[in-house]
Symmetry: C2
Subunit: 363 residues, 2 copies
């Protein structure tokens, strides 16, 4: 999900943006142009963006149509933000951490190292002030933000050799872009930000020792198991990557109240449906990786996780100082995170452990 | 959420059903009558049902209005199923395990002891055959089913004394209705199905030794902490209680395609939003219970959990033999559950544990 990966094979399609203007209106109908940072129908993210568009179109009876442009079809993918901000396109479906160059605060609305899970992101954004902060941030750029999907906890990644202690991470060449890569460098590894398409050959040749990608479903499709058998859990870098819909504020305000409600429902519906798809497909894919492809699932050792945690805590404290809105978002995020950690321990974590006790259930 | 609890104070409002007929149509607009099993605006469940209704009404611009009737306003709450099946009402918002008398298969679409979590329910229903089975079940009764909310993992409950081993459960008088209560009885406790309003006095007088309810948010409101200080986790009986929307099939088929899409989006949106609310409010409420009210949070011992697990596994295997559709649903559920347990271990559980390592993060 890093910036360069999604460019692969898509940037070549980029066309001039100037020919595309504001919402087309014909016979009382409105058509919105949605740019995305995903290749057409990329499993999970691209298909989810398409479903969101289709949900709006279908539930409005075609009165409000969203036409999806895959990465590069209308504008280069990482110009999506500027295209929507300026009105060249009407909305985007993307991961908002791509816009960290606009404000570091955008990191918190997708995922940060050792941050919130998917459910916690939903809780923070819907019910603990996150949406209000996101809208305050967006107002600086003429954007209205909405949640529109989640990948869930990403995995630690594929390692050619076993990694048993923090010492084994020293000098390790690992593909991990973004803040996660910064954290890796802090603990002595050597992080590289290869595009998705270059990971497999780099692992095969030994140019890199390890790589993360997303999780079992997306990772299986790339075939990394053929060149690296050790699959480490858990990931620390993206514990619940939220996908975002950003709409030009004037376009948003120009929608009727029913159409605003309809777009909000469609976005939330897809937020639920996409995350559920990752959970369902990951379960099947993990089984395939282990039983058919001989992948060995291994736990990252606690000394490594603790060092990554300390480096993440320091990094995010530094990031908080970037600008005023980032500080405000960080403070809200950290406050919510503290309660969330307690609740996760007592609810889902404890239940998950209890369910793995040796009792018989279901043959 | 048991049958008798939600009746309290609501059944007296029941009115004759015969005066309410099929969807009102005026000036091309359609109004649907939604009955619920919740008191008006009961926090979480009642407010969520109201939001679902409002989402439909708002996004249709009033062309499709859903009018909510709280428990007992139109029909007694546990006649909601029959009312919708017969066409007296158009749809309901409820917990489908209330309809286990129609078919035991309905248990699986809300929650069963040691079953699926909220995220796993969504994954099974949306992407692993659950919806198709639910619709097959509903077709026997003239109903179309949709997911419409979740409470998340419920808590173990409030205990007047510490419970340290399986031996301490013998003879313990505990309020727990439904399948969870059956499981408790199997391990030697004495399960009672008191209505919600009777729990507090029963705990206070010593008529019962312990009681479960929902989780920190709803439990705080009932004040159980005043009469029982030991709050045990995790719950085993309802690990992710899904709320369901059931619509009369003829009413569903009579909706235009856009209105069907709009209802589906509104239901999924609320499915996401309600669960997020439980997660957010539970975090705050837990903090209040511990820091302001001196509640002691305790973990249920593994020997108790393992005995509860074994009894749950046996009970559900028995339930599976109730009828043909229940067997079919059980087989699908068990198959999905197996993969889900692995994924939970490697993803959310492992991440949750890693995040609690002693590193510093956020001051």
């Amino acid at each position: 999900m890093d910036r360069r990966s999604v460019l692969t094979g898509a940037a070549g399609l980029a066309v001039g943006a100037a020919t595309f203007a504001s919402p087309a209106i014909a016979k009382g109908k409105k058509e919105l142009k949605m740019v995305t940072t995903w290749p057409k129908n990329f499993p999970g993210l691209g298909t989810g963006a398409q479903r969101f568009a289709d949900r709006v179109t279908a539930s409005s009876g075609g009165d409000l149509t969203i036409k999806l442009y895959a990465a590069g079809e209308l504008v280069p993918p990482f110009e999506s933000f500027d295209a929507v901000s300026s009105g060249t396109a009407d909305l985007y479906h993307a991961a908002d951490y791509y816009w960290k160059g606009k404000s570091a605060a955008y990191n918190f609305f997708t995922a940060v190292p050792f941050g919130l899970t998917a459910n916690e992101m939903d809780a923070w954004i819907h019910h603990a002030g996150g949406q209000e902060l996101w809208d305050e941030l967006g107002s600086q750029f003429g954007l209205k933000h909405l949640l529109g999907g989640n990948t869930g906890v990403q995995w630690g990644g594929w390692f050619k050799k076993e990694i048993n202690s923090l010492e084994d991470m020293k000098g390790l060449k690992m593909r991990m872009p973004g803040l996660g890569g910064d954290v890796l460098n802090e603990i002595g590894a050597n992080a590289l930000a290869l595009p998705g398409g270059e990971i497999y050959p780099a692992l095969q040749s030994g140019a890199i020792d390890a790589s993360e990608w997303v999780g079992p479903w997306n990772d299986l499709a790339f075939g990394f198991y053929k060149v690296a058998k050790n699959y480490y859990y858990p990931g620390f870098h993206e514990p619940g990557s939220s996908l975002g819909i950003g709409m030009n504020s004037k376009v948003w305000e120009g929608l009727s109240k029913p159409h605003q409600a309809l777009v909000q429902n469609a976005a939330l519906a897809e937020n639920n449906y996409m995350y559920a798809e990752f959970n369902a497909r990951n379960g099947d894919a993990l089984k395939t990786l282990v039983t058919k492809h001989g992948v060995v699932v291994r736990k990252t050792s606690d000394d490594i996780l603790n060092a990554l945690g300390a480096a993440s805590g320091q990094l995010m404290a530094d990031v908080a100082n970037t600008d005023k809105i980032t500080r405000k978002v960080y403070d809200s995020f950290i406050k919510f995170r503290k309660n969330a950690i307690s609740m996760a321990k007592y609810s889902d974590e404890a239940y998950s452990k209890a369910r793995r006790l040796p009792f018989k259930y279901g043959g």
